[in-house]
Symmetry: C2
């Protein structure tokens, strides 16, 4: 159905359209790429490609533009991820290496990715569920108030102020802290609920109300942060591009954590570090945009996702290369800390 030359034509159309942002015609195409055939032949191929739904023309007698289906074929079969240049790699490395804490890592990553791709970058905070407890801290604030601080192995810190049902002395707090740490230290967050389930029973009766209060807040913290924070950067890059779906919709989606989460998609369990590309109408919301995303995290433990969002008309090979490289470097940083 689609011989090699037709595929070459499709590839040429995608590349030209991405770089010029104008419908590409048969003549210009035959000239710019050395296809060694005449414009007329190219026209025949184009007619076939249009018949199959890979390209379309905005109006009768204008050049052709790739459809979502055309981009899909291009990404799947006609292009290769383009690796970054050495200079870019070094720049990434040094930029990320300067991060002082998890917040900083995420902020730097999202900015870096935005600058590298000239698109909007989106990064999800490493999720708690697969991390492990590094330390639980109870800080007495007033006689009936303590602050719970939960530190994970990814450097994440969660804190909550807890109102206690009774006055508790500092020494008891210290004791509870020791008990909690003995129980939870090094355990996966997902296992915390079952680990603490019988904790009140193992303690003297007078401690139980206090412990119950603390545990309920602890569990609540875990649940609430289950769907994670997402940050973005590079919104200014939207100003140039024109989206079929209004700019407003895109900006709204970016500020809506839930929508953004859906757009980033879930990591497929078998190949978590694979690049996911969603093109145009393949997206749940925001039909007019494409998303290139991947999972990242330390070692074989995939923790979260990051990616970029841009117009369907984007340079997929370059974008995919940047996303993949950044994901690898940030995973490396997280593993080292």
């Amino acid at each position: 159905m689609l011989d090699d030359r037709k595929l070459a034509v499709l590839r040429a159309i995608v590349e030209d359209y991405v770089s010029t942002n104008e419908p590409v015609g048969s003549k210009a195409l035959a000239e710019r790429h050395n296809l060694k055939v005449s414009p007329a032949t190219v026209r025949n191929d184009m007619a076939a490609l249009e018949e199959e739904g890979y390209i379309t023309q905005p109006h009768t007698s204008a050049g052709r533009v790739p459809t979502d289906k055309g981009y899909r074929l291009f990404v799947d079969r006609l292009s290769q991820v383009k690796p970054l240049s050495g200079a870019e790699r070094r720049a990434i490395e040094t930029f990320l290496a300067g991060a002082v804490d998890l917040d900083d890592v995420v902020t730097r990553t999202v900015r870096l990715l935005a600058q590298l791709t000239r698109q909007v970058a989106v990064v999800q905070y490493p999720t708690l569920t697969r991390s492990t407890v590094r330390h639980v801290e109870l800080v007495p604030l007033h006689e009936r108030r303590v602050m719970l601080v939960l530190i994970t192995n990814t450097g994440r810190v969660e804190q909550r102020v807890i109102e206690l049902p009774e006055v508790v002395e500092d020494t008891r707090i210290a004791h509870l802290r020791a008990v909690l740490n003995a129980c939870l230290d090094g355990c996966g967050l997902a296992t915390v609920p079952e680990l603490v389930a019988d904790l009140p029973e193992r303690l003297p009766a007078e401690d139980r109300p206090v412990v119950a209060t603390i545990l309920s807040v602890l569990l609540e913290t875990l649940v609430e942060r289950h769907d994670e924070k997402i940050v973005f950067a590079g919104a200014a890059n939207l100003a140039g591009a024109d989206f079929s779906t209004g700019l407003r919709d895109v900006l709204e989606a970016l500020e809506e954590q839930v929508v953004l989460m859906r757009l980033l998609g879930e990591t497929s369990t078998d190949t978590p570090s694979a690049l996911t590309v969603r093109i145009g109408s393949e997206n749940p919301y925001l039909r007019g945009t494409s998303i290139v995303a991947t999972g990242y995290g330390s070692g074989d433990n995939q923790l979260a996702r990051l990616g970029v969002l841009g117009p369907t008309r984007m340079d997929y090979p370059v974008t995919m290369g940047a996303v993949r490289a950044v994901a690898r470097y940030v995973s490396q940083i997280l593993a080292a800390s």
Copy 2:
């Protein structure tokens, strides 16, 4: 020079232009507002106002548009801050009351303000400098690594991982923690540097290298966070409005902490809670936008600033009312926690 009627005309022009976004002419003006004079008279007044530089016309024979100077006069003398409706107040209160920690307070505030004003809202995190130390925590991670956690009275938590110059046992860490807390608990952050200056000398010689390392990180944390984090929300509201300075510039400024900081401006020391309005060219960058900002914080202790950013053509009375109200409520919330 400017009698009452001329001022009334100016007010009418501003109000009409804000609501219609079109140059306003003498006839429409005389009809819509009951000025009880003929269009011809209004024209004379307009000519005078234009002479003085309060209004201008985009082209010969189009209606008049307020200049920055015109808006300034309007804000200073011709308008009053418009209080929010009861329903709005209640909505603010309940929405902010649901916040669980400082991060949450700030996030909710910025979203609330964006929604309320239909502009871009900007909120600065409460600065550390005027806060006080509530607790310092040292958490052993590995034998040569500890995590420093600094908790302030505003609920803010800063953490840093510290590489120690030598292996330090947990009991020594605990002791150092006690010393640090004894020294710093309850003290203003600004006074921390002098308080810890002679700390190494007061300790046994063998502790000094470790303490010096910890203190240097602690001081660094204070300095780095001195110019504070700023968040924004409501970028989608920019999509409708057209800025003289391109949309791109605005979006870039929003992602640039430093610029944003300059735009929010400093709290004047004498009246920290006063509303600041910067109109168009009065702004250091972003000449085409206006900013309504104010300080907020618990009690008489002004901690940070918040405000909104929008086109010069904005509804100042309503915006000022919203900013003031939100600042008050969030101050209240912070004071209570």
